[in-house]
């Protein structure tokens, strides 16, 4: 089943996909464009993987890391389907990253890879933007690059784990204004989902609603104000995000 969280007529609802529409918990069926899409769940700890696809690592002229390159993100970064992400006026290279997001379903500590799938609640799409102008070599990728407000779109759905036969074999694609700019497959991940869960739970506790963004394949291009960026993952749907200019702050 595909689950969403939406705002409709002033109320926040859990909802499920039903045919072409979505059904709210009160039974009402509404269309996709009648609601405001919220992130499909409220993330607890947000983990992200850098350089987890060999081709992308080469694209950024990096060698494959010996240990997973993991970093954390704050809740300020999260924005739902059909949301907007700001392109700061001074950046020259802001790129999307289509990523399979793995949502933890129960507390996990010292879990072995062979048991890891038992701890997964489901999957969603993440588009985790990077602002490369701000890269610095301290705790890289530093938070100025990866922790900007509304820079991580997730959704539209949280798809139940049992609905995804093989999460390690899903096609990922990104379209900018309708043109395909990125294509890959989760089978090309360097460190697999079960290995990531073993690695992380080996030194800290994972909790329900924790989410792991598993990295992006090659194909990062600059995006401009007004661009519509659609990230798609096989079986999970398509996540739409639009790049906007910085609001002018009135002091």
């Amino acid at each position: 089943m595909k689950h969403a969280r939406v705002a409709y007529e002033g109320v926040i609802y859990d909802a499920i996909q039903l045919g072409e529409g979505i059904q709210l918990t009160n039974g009402k069926i509404v269309m996709e464009d009648e609601v405001v899409w919220l992130p499909p769940f409220v993330p607890q700890t947000i983990f992200a993987l850098g350089l987890n696809y060999a081709e992308h690592a080469r694209e950024l002229s990096f060698h494959t890391p010996s240990e997973p390159l993991v970093f954390l993100k704050g809740p300020n970064t999260i924005v739902g389907h059909r949301g907007k992400t700001v392109r700061p006026s001074d950046v020259t290279f802001m790129h999307y990253e289509c990523e399979l997001a793995v949502v933890i379903g129960k507390m996990a500590r010292n879990v072995k890879a062979k048991d890891a799938y038992d701890y997964i609640r489901g999957y969603t799409i993440a588009n985790d933007y990077a602002f490369r102008d701000y890269l610095e070599n301290y705790y890289r990728p530093n938070l100025r690059v990866k922790n900007r407000d509304s820079s991580t779109a997730i959704g539209p759905w949280l798809v139940d784990a049992e609905d995804i036969q093989d999460p390690m074999n899903l096609k990922l694609q990104t379209f900018v204004n309708g043109e395909k700019t990125q294509e890959g497959n989760t089978s090309d991940m360097i460190i697999s989902i079960p290995e990531l869960i073993e690695y992380l739970s080996g030194f800290m506790t994972l909790n329900p609603r924790d989410v792991i963004l598993t990295g992006t394949p090659k194909g990062s291009v600059d995006t401009k104000v007004g661009d519509e960026v659609v990230t798609e993952i096989e079986g999970l749907g398509r996540l739409v995000n639009t790049i906007v200019a910085e609001p002018v702050l009135q002091q």
């Binding site: 954390l72 704050g74 705790y139 938070l143 922790n147």
Partner: protein, 262 residues
């Protein structure tokens, strides 16, 4: 007497009270209770952000490496990291030492608690967004390299004791001039002061909120002083910040986490 906010174990709501520093008691609802009789819970529920290299001494110790590979140049913007929820523990709770590690770094940090969302705020208005101050022990596995995010060293379970309470902003005249002391088993191991910050508090808030929002309830740690003391299993650690209070925790072996009497 200082106005404080705190949470007691077993109670869902936050409480407000008055803290008598000299006599070590708290007044609430016209009754008073000595501090050692109270079991404090974690007084915050926002995101905790740590700041790297924000004490002059810590910065200077690292400065010679800054122009070398892999750093190549000194940092421009504040370098932050997150202490996720599995790290948050209360005053009096245990800090668990991973079995592969001998000792842990006790990172004495002043935490700034936010009252409302702060986005692109100016230095002049920075304190308008502050609710108060809290003591945090930013526990870490010592690590030399700061090139990659040190999640494995920073984000272990119990690595962020916080409390016992939040002292309201109005009670602290100059947060950029607070003495910080760390005691291990009663012995004074470190003395420093927030007067030694590279970015004083208002500047730090301005520079961080230039690129991200600090929301209501979030906590920004101003940094860890250089030469943070090390502690090992069974050590009793106290982080004391002038005018705010004392945060006390004991280190235990990680293996006792399972099957420990609660």
């Amino acid at each position: 007497m200082k106005e404080i906010c705190f949470k007691l174990q077993g109670e869902a709501q936050m409480k407000e009270g008055l803290y008598d520093e000299e006599k070590q008691f708290i007044m609430m609802n016209r009754t008073s209770q000595t501090i050692d009789k109270l079991n404090f819970d974690i007084p915050i529920n926002g995101t905790i952000y740590g700041t790297l290299l924000n004490y002059n001494g810590a910065y200077q110790q690292f400065e010679s490496k800054m122009n070398e590979s892999p750093y190549k140049q000194p940092p421009k913007a504040p370098v932050l990291y997150i202490k996720p929820i599995n790290t948050h523990v209360a005053n009096g709770s245990s800090i668990y030492v991973p079995k592969e590690v001998e000792s842990l770094k006790m990172g004495a940090a002043l935490g700034i608690v936010f009252e409302k969302a702060a986005t692109k705020v100016t230095e002049q208005s920075a304190f308008d967004y502050v609710f108060g101050y809290v003591i945090v022990n930013d526990v870490q596995i010592p690590h030399e390299s700061i090139y990659r995010p040190a999640v494995k060293e920073i984000a272990r379970d119990s690595f962020c004791p916080i409390g016992p309470w939040i002292v309201k902003k109005e009670e602290i005249k100059n947060p950029d001039h607070l003495v910080i002391r760390v005691y291990v088993n009663g012995e004074l191991k470190q003395v420093n002061s927030t007067a030694n910050l590279v970015r004083p508090i208002s500047k730090l808030i301005a520079d961080v909120t230039e690129f991200m929002t600090l929301n209501k309830g979030d906590v920004l740690l101003v940094g860890i002083p250089e030469n943070a003391p090390l502690a090992k299993v069974d050590d009793h650690v106290t982080v004391e910040i002038e005018g705010i209070g004392k945060l006390e925790n004991v280190l235990k072996c990680e293996e006792t986490l399972v099957g420990e009497k609660i």
